[in-house]
Amino acid sequence: MVDPPTVQISIPADIAYFRAVRLAVGAVAATIGFHVEAIEDLRIAVDELSASLVEVGDGGDLRFVVCPEPGRGVRIEASVARGPKDLDQERFELSQRILSVITDDHGFELSGAFATAWLERQVT
């Protein structure tokens, strides 16, 4: 059995690279049938994952695994090694509000040595 295709992205923990992730995710979304507005939503959504992870990371790379299902949707999982800092709660609250509308499901978890975040969005 062939594993479904994935796109893996790794960026330095630097906000200057968030745009590269947005660009890559937008390109993947375009290939699997998302319309323009949904692509914009996904660009915002992955940016929100990035912003939260970089706040709590240890300065190491942010890693993203984009799992597209052509014609159906996409799941994006992201992680970073945990650092000493906490989330900016005010920004995080805004971020969660945004994600709750522009994704079908999303999550964020701080546990052990890693922080993880994920989202799902259907094509329809």
Binding site: D47, R91, S95, R97, I98, I102
Partner: protein
Amino acid sequence: MTSAPGPSAPPPDGEPLPPNDRIARQRVAPDPVQIVSMEVGDAAQGVVALRVSGELDALSAPLLARHLDGLDLAADQLIQLDLGAVSFIDSSGLRELVAPARGLIRVTAASDVVRRILEITGLEEMMSPPPS
């Protein structure tokens, strides 16, 4: 047959870039957000108006914050923001708009993405006229 010239060596430190190199570098690394204009309104009315363009994200939001902080405004100062040319905004950009003690911000124009994010986050009242 002629070939296109290759990249030129960088000039020594302290020397200005040739015009063509300046153009190329500007295209590769454009400003993430631009404060297009700032108009200080009638002092009696106490209005400051800013027009912002570009992507308002974690990278560029601090630029807007520094700009607003640099105005050294009173907490009740009315700031009118034209965000009609903002092509991207996230929670980091939004946070700067709702930061306390930076004046009373009203969004006088909003691009579709700004309007949508303000509505999602329940901040659409920022787009309403200020109380008279």
